[in-house]
Symmetry: C2
Subunit: 304 residues, 2 copies
């Protein structure tokens, strides 16, 4: 974290607090029937995480329309898009933790949703978070055709050629040796698709022009990949206490990772190379791209 | 079925064959990676069912814009909406059949998705079908603001204040005595919300005006409820062989139904009353409402 500018850390913390507030308002309160389902949904979504995906939405939005910062309609569009990606991310964690998937009982140090509630409620909570995400997008105060584009972007990122597809490939790959191409494809779907969609939705909310969209696309591609490479590196280098999840778990589960494939040192070099590519990609955005640059630093230089 | 006009049965069969073809094209082929996930998605969606929800989309669409019938853009809009509701319905069946929910091993006489594949694949197949539904809606060749409305309609019908919420209430109500109001609320979410959304999406695709939307809303409300009342009646009156699922199952599971609540005769009278309300609701649509009328007959007078 030392290499991340203090001002960026402050911004990121403030964004995390802000999206928490937005999500709190977008989700039905626990006194609305079915109360237990709403309690589970709120438990799954609120109270934590680094909110990297939401931050990517804001960073990309300000990166393309810095002068709109503070404009209520623009801020609201970013809030809707940021809430949508966080809801999809949260639903995916709830389902990933289920016994038939990773069978995890802890998430961020707390009991997972199916442990705290029950499996059926966890399943339904995830199922209900996904349409809520699309409902949030539909509320963006932008031209309707932008909402339609945003809907397609999120739907494709979440679907069988995106996040859910990546999960499926991941399941099939346990115990197998994957080529770097195959590993890259799996991660580009599993993690990269939603990270990338976050960046592109920020651009859509900001009315990004062609060159700006090009810059965002290149940035998103590099960062989506970097995120996973760094995750794999941290799985072997970080303390369990810092990581908030069991270190070495992927290796123990015999899952192919960038470290098992390339070795630790080459994986670290790859992460640095992707970081450089991301920074170069957003050079055309100039000073407006500072939050995107900060996120690149944050994602690649983090120690947990 | 004897009371359903032969011409309507022909229409309904032709629509079912047509939507099957549309769904086949909208879903990724099995040679696309992840192949097993796509195989499971196609298994879940294709090859069966009465396609009542798709039929409601078409019937409502023609009911409001009969003169547009055959117009390629109009037909495509109806196809996209019909595919979307069938995808959401199919995903809900896959998840409902999971061991942590109803734990069903057969659906339409075939092994359920988690039996034929595995639980994780069934979970992910359902998860991936839902965004595909929103992607289909986004492809409707109508004004973007209509797509946004359609997205909101479907998202709310699928979410915690719709289908997923109804499932959650259903889970909580096992072994409890519900009031008629509570039972009605549960079913209005669990089954009614998506049936109703199907009708409204047909109207949206057809550019329904205010009075037409009002007629559709009243029709949808009555039919959503009638569908469940008839289901409950059939659970005690029909043969297992005709029903395609185990007759008497709800009663055996100690689930509250309209029959346990009202008695068989009153439930049958209620179904007939709702049928009459539905037919009266669409009177303003005149002859264009004939398929909606046919569906009302089909849903209420069916024997399985």
């Amino acid at each position: 974290m030392s290499a991340v500018l203090p001002s960026f850390s402050t911004w990121l913390g403030a964004r995390a607090a802000h999206i928490e507030h937005v999500l709190d308002k977008e989700m039905p309160q626990v006194d609305i029937i079915p109360a237990r389902l709403h309690e589970a949904m709120r438990y799954a979504v609120l109270g934590g995480g680094k909110r990297v995906r939401a931050a990517l939405v804001y960073a990309a939005g300000y990166g393309c329309a810095d002068n709109q910062s503070g404009n209520p309609a623009f801020e609201r569009a970013l809030d809707c898009a940021a809430a949508a990606v966080e809801l999809v991310h949260a639903y995916s964690l709830v389902h990933d933790d289920l016994p038939c998937m990773d069978d995890d009982s802890l998430r961020r140090g707390q009991p997972t949703v199916h442990v705290r509630f029950d499996e059926a409620t966890a399943l339904l909570a995830g199922d209900a978070l996904q349409p809520l995400a699309f409902d949030c997008l539909a509320q963006m105060p932008v031209a309707p055709e932008k909402i339609v584009q945003a809907t397609q972007t999120l739907a494709q990122a979440a679907g069988s050629l995106g996040m859910a597809g990546g999960q499926a490939i991941d399941l099939e790959s346990v115990g197998k040796v994957l080529s770097q191409d195959a590993l890259q494809h799996m991660h580009s779907l599993k993690t990269g698709a939603l990270l990338s969609a976050s960046v592109m939705l920020g651009g859509l909310a900001a009315g990004a022009d062609g060159p700006q969209q090009g810059a965002l696309t290149r940035y998103a591609k590099a960062m989506g990949l970097a995120f996973q490479v760094v995750d794999d590196v941290l799985d072997v280098t970080a303390d369990t206490s810092k990581l908030g999840k069991t270190a070495g778990k992927d290796a123990a589960a015999n899952k192919p990772t960038y470290v098992t494939l390339l070795g630790l040192e080459s994986a670290q070099i790859m992460a640095k190379k992707l970081h450089r590519e991301a920074i170069e990609a957003i050079a055309p955005l100039g000073e407006s791209g500072r939050y995107l640059a900060g996120l690149a630093d944050f994602i690649v230089l983090r120690d947990h």
